[in-house]
């Protein structure tokens, strides 16, 4: 076991923890993608290049894109709803 493994393992745990500790969802998702890339690295250390490839492509890549896209959608809906509410509010008050 190398010092590299220790660092990588600790890095994984830290990435994982910081995903949960972050208050900002966008940052959480980005950290999640970082976690995925670290994990891909881990798989090569475990002599599982297939998994490294899969993790990078699917786990971090595709899941990350899906999550980011959803996050964007949720934000937009929230803004839209807030705008609608204020409009309604103004209409009601006027």
């Amino acid at each position: 076991m190398m010092i590299f493994d220790v660092i990588l393992g600790v890095g994984l745990v830290l990435a994982c923890a910081s995903v949960y500790l972050s208050n900002n969802l966008f940052r959480s998702v980005v950290l999640f993608i970082v976690f995925g890339l670290l994990l891909a690295l881990t798989w090569t250390r475990l002599q599982a290049p297939d998994l490294a490839l899969a993790e990078a492509a699917i786990g971090a890549g595709l899941t990350g894109v899906l999550l980011l896209d959803t996050l964007g959608t949720l934000r937009k809906i929230r803004h839209q709803r807030a705008a609608d509410d204020t409009k309604k509010h103004e209409e009601a008050s006027s």
């Binding site: 490839l53 492509a57 699917i58 894109v65």
Partner: protein
Amino acid sequence: MIRVLGAALAAIITLLGLTLALWFAPATQVNLPQQVELNIDASGIAHPITAVLLNFRSYDTLLEVAVVLVAVVAGLALRERGPRVTPHERSADPMLQALTRRLLPLLVLTGVYVLWAGSYAPGGAFQAGALVAAAGVLARLAGYDIASRVDRLLRLGLALGFILFLTVAVSAMFGGRPFLNYPDEWAGSLIFLIEAVLTFSIGLTLLSLFVHAPGDASPQGGGDYGR
């Protein structure tokens, strides 16, 4: 507060249990990798992981493809009707346009390589499928509408991999062999064929889960949100 305390308790118990379980794990009595090595020649595939996935434990993979298909069918069921705002407004970005034009062929090419490599080296249908899907997502973001609007064709594309897999698996039974068995001499090529079609279907599936997800457009008059 109670929820956080409960969660912490659950986490601590889990950690404790898992650590103990890992530390004191008894020595295994069965050595599966050995058996994999012994039978790898008969499987028709040189790469052990692909051999496990598509021959020794191909039943798992068949069900796994079914899981992917179910996810996309359930996703399509939740698709919104009415006009969808296409193409994305993001397509105007010239940088993205340029990037896409360069990256797209590369991604597809890599996908094909990964698929082909799967029979003797790391790689295979799922990774390749993900790359194809990534290419599709990129194209989509750039404004190219690849995902077919023709519904039935789309569904055929999604199911094609599963259909081929199931057909090959069942056809063995007509020759009096067990379900999911490959004829010895064709095993390698059949598996490659299945993988190729699976790559396409999985790519399309993941792409359409992305494309057809309910968007952010405000409900049009004809929408069915009131249901």
